[in-house]
């Protein structure tokens, strides 16, 4: 396979010595099957061991290696350098998060929000294990399968212009996961969760830009999930106004 050199313009930020971010250029040999993460590892292993980024599975499932490449949030393990336009490849940390160092961001904010939507089955009564599994048909699995694919890679938050201005917005992934549990036929926590997401820190800020669904590497379609949640939350709200007695069921 033929090799050629490509310039990588990489965001650097060293919290203990830098006042602000800078860019550093590296020339990296590229083959047809080199992905952006390979290039970063080449830099780390042979050119500059101080370059800092997260990665692990390099098969698009662990969600560690999300970065903004040429301005677009991607999993760097899944983007071939040959498919990128322009001579220089710019690598930034994901947008909308505090930067810890170089390409590493902090997203404890998401972890709090995830916990907030109660991402686990809620049952009025747990059946004993001896009773066996809860029955669920393949169609019932299909109802929430798409939203159950979220790998928490945070690309959607990086792409979301609403999150970038309103950090109390629940955001795409956490909403999609809430929807995943609401649509699960085994779950009985829909009312609780809809109450949670129908707050100031919930979903109402979303203007359906839709970019979260465009960048999602697992086709979770959080944008659609949020719209569906809005419909469900509005219906629940109307029900509570019209039938205050039955609303607390």
């Amino acid at each position: 396979m033929a090799e050629r050199e490509v310039v990588f313009r990489v965001h650097r930020y060293r919290p203990e010595s830098d006042r602000g971010p800078t860019y550093q250029d590296y020339r990296v040999p590229i083959r047809d099957d080199t992905v952006v993460l390979d290039a970063l590892n080449h830099i780390k292993d042979t050119l500059d061991p101080t370059l800092t980024f997260r990665w692990s599975c390099r098969m698009g499932i662990c969600g560690s290696c999300g970065m903004n490449v040429n301005g677009t949030p991607v999993l760097t393990c899944g983007v071939f350098v040959k498919d990128l336009r322009g001579g220089v490849v710019t690598v930034d940390p994901m947008a909308n998060f505090p930067v810890l160092k170089d390409l590493v961001v902090e997203f404890d904010d998401f972890m709090r929000k995830l916990q907030g939507v109660k991402p686990f089955l809620i049952r009025k009564e747990d059946a004993p294990l001896s009773a066996g599994e809860y029955r669920q048909t393949p169609e019932q699995v299909e109802a929430y399968r798409q939203q159950s694919m979220c790998i928490n890679c945070m690309l959607c938050y990086s792409a979301c212009p609403v999150y970038s201005r309103t950090d109390h917005f629940l955001g795409p992934a956490a909403s999609a996961i809430a929807y995943r549990y609401i649509k699960d036929s085994r779950d009985e926590g829909a009312d609780e969760r809809l109450g949670r997401i129908s707050t100031k820190t919930g979903i109402w800020e979303c203007t359906f830009v839709g970019e979260c669904s465009v960048v999602c590497p697992k086709d979770v379609d959080p944008a659609a999930a949020i719209q569906s949640l809005k419909v469900l939350a509005s219906m629940r709200h109307m029900r509570r106004i019209l039938m205050p007695k039955s609303a607390s069921r």
Binding site: P98, G116, V162, S234
Partner: protein, 151 residues
């Protein structure tokens, strides 16, 4: 954004469920309603407004229709029809609630987030006032003695 790091506190990432539950108690009242109206308005404007603009404002100058089709006489002939009046009410109300909700979010998107309450009052105020005015002109305006058929 950019919350300064707390002093080292193991487990500080964990939000206690009670705290989350407390937060969840404060459900918003306005948002589901205005969003519902925005949504409904979106359907109304998408399906009904293009043909309305075309008929009332573009077809005549383009020479597709004679001017009298939108003249006073034609309008006065159609307007007593309940369906026509309802149509105008729905298009005006839907357009206002839809468009004003979007205007509010455009203002927020432009970075004017601090004045959100002001924008909300202004935008939804215009929508409510405009819709009430539409009710007045379609059903209550006395000049021609229009009234609700059952009044």
């Amino acid at each position: 954004m950019g919350v300064p790091r707390e002093p080292w506190n193991p487990g500080h990432e964990i939000v206690r469920l009670e705290a989350v539950a407390k937060e969840a108690e404060r459900e918003v009242v306005l948002e589901p309603m205005v969003w519902g109206l925005f949504s409904l308005g979106g359907f109304i404007t998408a399906f009904l407004l293009p043909v309305t603009i075309f008929f009332l404002s573009l077809a005549v100058p383009l020479g597709l229709w004679p001017a009298e089709r939108i003249g006073y006489g034609a309008f006065a002939a159609r307007f007593p029809d309940l369906l026509v009046r309802l149509f105008f009410l729905v298009v005006i109300g839907g357009g206002l609630f839809h468009g004003m909700h979007r205007l509010r979010h455009i203002l927020l998107d432009a970075g004017l987030t601090r004045a959100d309450t002001l924008w909300a009052v202004l935008c939804y105020g215009v929508a409510v006032f405009g819709t009430l005015a539409a009710v007045y002109y379609t059903f209550l305006e006395p000049t021609f003695g229009w009234s609700l058929p059952f009044l």
